[in-house]
């Protein structure tokens, strides 16, 4: 039609800027509307925050346990006692060969003299040992394994392989507890993941329900927007932003809760660690974890709101 102003065909950068500005306006506007009913918004944010804080706290706890375990794992090794008639040179040769194996990180050779010295120190049998005419201890290889093989499926055949070697007398595994520890961690990880999934779903439903109420309250506004030519996509956008805000704020508060918990516990944890002669500091949410939490919670908000909007938005389209 002649009177209709043709939308001036903007070049691409300009259209992009317009688009970005539009989104910014809606984002700000939906935030402003949220703040008009601060109590309702606060309750939604609090519910989301609590639902997210629990799994986040558990993830942080697990990470700390893993770090603690990591410290110990470095000392986890297999002691390979060689046959008594092998001397250090032969031990070193065997060590060379074993080092080629993919499971092995590094090998420490404990000579017979060194072994005896150590034994003397720990056993308190100093004088009695001096009576021995010859050193009865064998050469020992301390095999430090790569953490990756601490799973039972890989460790067991490796140990079997070592035991059948002719140079080897017997093995002493320190690795077994580490193996159990790994299995336990994996189990806990799965548990936390499931719990996180469940509580994430809870947060999603809380946000979806808030958005549903909001749509209910704005039924007239949505209908009138439809009357003057709003597309469903346009009408939806505001609610998606509201959901995103709920998610983001919920995630931020959850992060704060966890950080506060870590801060309250850190002094105590360090004190306990000192009792165990261990220099350990509890670690809270780092940058990556915080980003992940915030992005995840925002997405949760958008999805929750998208579900509610899909079910309840009516633009006066058709009867």
């Amino acid at each position: 039609m002649g009177t209709r102003q043709a939308g001036s065909s903007g070049r691409h950068p300009r259209r992009l800027a317009t688009w970005a500005e539009q989104h910014r306006e809606i984002a700000v506007d939906s935030l402003r509307q949220m703040l008009q009913q601060p109590l309702g918004a606060l309750m939604t944010v609090a519910a989301v925050a609590i639902a997210l804080a629990l799994p986040t706290a558990l993830v942080v706890a697990l990470d700390n346990v893993k770090r603690l375990g990591g410290d110990w794992q470095r000392s986890a090794a297999i002691s390979v006692f060689l046959e008594a008639d092998l001397d250090e040179t032969e031990g070193a040769q065997l060590s060379q060969r074993l080092r080629q194996l993919p499971e092995v990180e590094r090998i420490e050779l404990i000579s017979r003299t060194a072994g005896l010295a150590e034994f003397r120190q720990y056993s308190g049998l100093g004088a009695a040992l001096d009576q021995l005419s010859q050193n009865p201890l064998p050469v020992v290889l301390e095999l430090h394994l790569k953490p990756a093989i601490l799973e039972p499926v890989r460790l067991t055949p490796f140990i079997d392989q070592l035991e059948t070697m002719p140079e080897v007398d017997f093995l002493r595994e320190d690795a077994q507890w580490a193996q159990r520890f790994q299995a336990m961690l994996a189990l806990l990880h799965t548990g936390v993941a499931l719990l996180g999934l469940l509580l994430g779903l809870g947060a999603l439903l809380v946000i979806g329900n808030s958005i549903r109420l909001e749509i209910e309250n704005r039924r007239d506004e949505i209908r009138i927007m439809g009357l003057v030519g709003a597309t469903a996509r346009f009408a939806r956008r505001r609610f998606l932003y509201t959901g995103a805000w709920y998610g983001l704020f919920g995630g931020m508060v959850a992060g704060l809760i966890v950080t506060l918990m870590v801060w309250l516990l850190s002094a105590q944890v360090s004190a306990v660690a000192i009792l165990y002669d261990h220099d350990f500091h509890i670690q809270g949410l780092d940058f990556a974890a915080t980003s992940l939490l915030l992005i995840g919670s925002t997405l949760l908000g958008i999805i929750g709101s998208r579900i509610a909007v899909g079910r309840h938005l009516d633009l006066c389209d058709e009867r």
Partner: protein, 222 residues
Amino acid sequence: MIRFEHVNKRYPARGEALKDLSFELAAGEMAFLTGHSGAGKSTLLKLIGLLERPSRGQIIVDGRSLADLPRRRIPYHRRRIGMIFQDHQLLRDRSVYDNVALPLAVTGMPSREIGRRVRAALDQVGLLAFERAQPVSLSGGEQQRVGIARAIVGRPPIILADEPTGNLDPELASEIYDLFERFHEVGVTLMIATHDQERISRMAYRILRLHQGRLIADSRNW
């Protein structure tokens, strides 16, 4: 521009509101729609804006049958029609400015481009001073004019007005009709439902008269 072919509209609760209605309005034409209360004037206008669907018959707007319009095209169809509602249909918790800006805002126009156009529309209905007011604080006539400003702000090729001056004093009403005539002069197609027999008999335009849902007269003054 607007063509009705044997259109029936039946409300399940109330029976037939429009019966076998056929007429055509050329592009750029201005016409009055009149008839007793309950004759079906509002229903007719709603059918054009796709706020209601006909029970039978065809409505063709701008060469396109509305029955074939896919649902996702409805918003774009409505953007080409400036509708003035009998019951205003304003957002109660938004300012006059926001109400008038709405048809532009939903097209994604950035707000700095909207401002100039909104003020021009408000100026045309004499409400420039009320920009910041809330609709509830306005008189019936003022609200009506907000509705008119909202209908013209997007410069649509079609304007459908349902009792646009019902709450206005004769002087203000005359100003609004002057405004409609100015739109008519630049080629806008207008259809105005009104009870104001005296005014339509003074103005030289086509008159469609409904009686109990039937078109009983299609006349022209000059």
